[in-house]
């Protein structure tokens, strides 16, 4: 069994000086164990926060059957890195103009974090973040994917993400007509 301790975990541990354990152990679908700071987990994941508050955290490893070890490792890595990063104004400013992407831009370290991931790892991470209710991680990963989609035609998107075109020509034309407004040239 492998226990993955994030870099920031030690400092985090000292910060959260509590009587009981200040980390939680998470168990991936393939049985690997990961430790993550309780504070970061509760702050970043609504699901883990609920489990911690509800006392359904298992000291021997809380089963997360939906998440593979690679994705969980990334999740834990993200939590630790996030704990180390300077907390920013997380709230999305309301001044975002209408036509810009409705995310708060990822910070530099978040960008680097997702940039090194493969397609598959990225999607696994989206799934994991979705499952764990990690809104910020979802934002960051989805933003990365949407950047990969930016400016691409449906054809190119199919190619990049290896999606099969199961439409007939007529169907495509029909949709194109129905959605004519979306295809105006800007």
């Amino acid at each position: 069994m492998e226990v993955d301790k994030g870099k920031g975990e030690a400092e985090e541990t000292r910060k959260v000086a509590e009587a009981d354990r200040d980390t939680v152990t998470l168990k991936s679908s393939d049985g690997k164990l990961f430790e993550v700071s309780k504070e970061a987990a509760a702050r970043l994941s609504t699901v883990l926060a609920g489990m911690i508050a509800g006392g359904s955290i298992d000291d021997n490893g809380t089963d997360l059957k939906q998440i593979g070890s690679e994705a969980l490792e990334n999740v834990v890595d993200y939590c630790n890195k996030h704990a180390n990063s300077i907390p920013s104004a997380a709230l999305i400013s309301s001044s975002i103009s209408f036509n810009t992407a409705p995310f708060k831009e990822p910070e530099e370290w978040e960008r680097k974090f997702v940039d090194r991931l493969s397609h598959d790892a990225l999607f696994d991470l989206v799934e994991a973040a979705n499952f764990l209710g990690m809104e910020r991680l979802l934002d960051v990963t989805c933003h990365k994917i949407s950047e990969m989609m930016k400016g691409k035609s449906p054809d190119q998107i199919r190619e990049v993400f290896n999606i099969k075109n199961d439409y007939t020509k007529e169907e495509l034309e029909e949709i194109r007509q129905e959605l004519a407004w979306a295809f105006y040239d800007d």
Binding site: F103, N130, F131, S146, I163, I175, A182
Partner: protein, 368 residues
Amino acid sequence: MSKAHVPGYSAATREHKLARLFCFVCDGGVPVATRCEVLVLLLDPSAHWRPSVQRLRIQGEGGRLPQRASPLAMAWSEVLRRLPARSIARLNLVCRDWHALISTDRFLRSHAVHAELNGASAIMFADCNYIGHATIGFPWIRVRLLPALPCGATQAYATTYATLLARRRVRVRHGHEQAQARLPLLQPQEPRDTGVQAGVRLVQNIRDGAWCLVDPPPPGPVANVPPVDIDGKLFWTVDMMPSSDHQDRQTPATRSWPWIHTCDFDVLKGPPGSCDGRLVSVLRLRGALGAAVHARQGFNTLEMWAMRGYGDGSWCMEYSVDLGKHSPEYSRHTTVPLKKKTLTSFDQCMYEHTRKVLTSLQWELRCI
């Protein structure tokens, strides 16, 4: 693409089609998505926008959760819901799965919630099950309808009223209005015996972009008389006989809306002749509220009235335009002067009687 293809708007009839408006219904504090139908106001560059009041039909509870989707579909759903509506609409072309995903109520809801949270967009139109039109119409309006549907209600829909008026032009094709206003969250009202639970009665304050909630709502404007904005007040005409049989009867009164400071509105008496359906338009005339009124039977003239003061509601006739003199085709039955930005007043185009102005006059005078 030509303007005629602007969806929802027919250049031929100058009608605005029904589009579905995606909105929220608050059920016990949890906003659930629903759909309602509302007449959408679009601005075709060639046309004048017009307000409309339309019953919204809220269909069921909306926002039903689909059967369990695959984790990958969920992941894509997460990615797509963060994209602008227009991009999403284009992505319908990628594959059937995406098309199906985008068409679900759940997706529409989550997209709207996300857009709402992020202050990104606006009215979400779910037209033909497609998300979209967020760049059309009132991109900066965010409507949240919160009629508290009575628990266990067997009625499939509740009705409510929407009065949406805007004074700002919307660029239809590009639709990148930078300004946006947050609509106040409408609190669910006490259930009334009529079943009408709540309404959207919002008017935009042009100065700070805020939306005001008005209770009770003012009567809706007459559809084919465009409103006019004079010094921060919006004037429109109302039908004082709101009988459904006489929807297109002209209006006897003008309402003014002091936009800036209050949300009150007054009914002003129209000029003589407006009460028997001869009022054809309200317009800005020498900086004041003006009205065009058909002359009495037998005269091919348009009378241009200007209001003396808002206090006493007195009117005086400024011009009497003999339409037949300018062109035989302008008969009093088919002519209505419309406000046009480039012309500061109606008399300008009458006096500068060049060919060019005649062309613009032609623009000004439209057939009813």
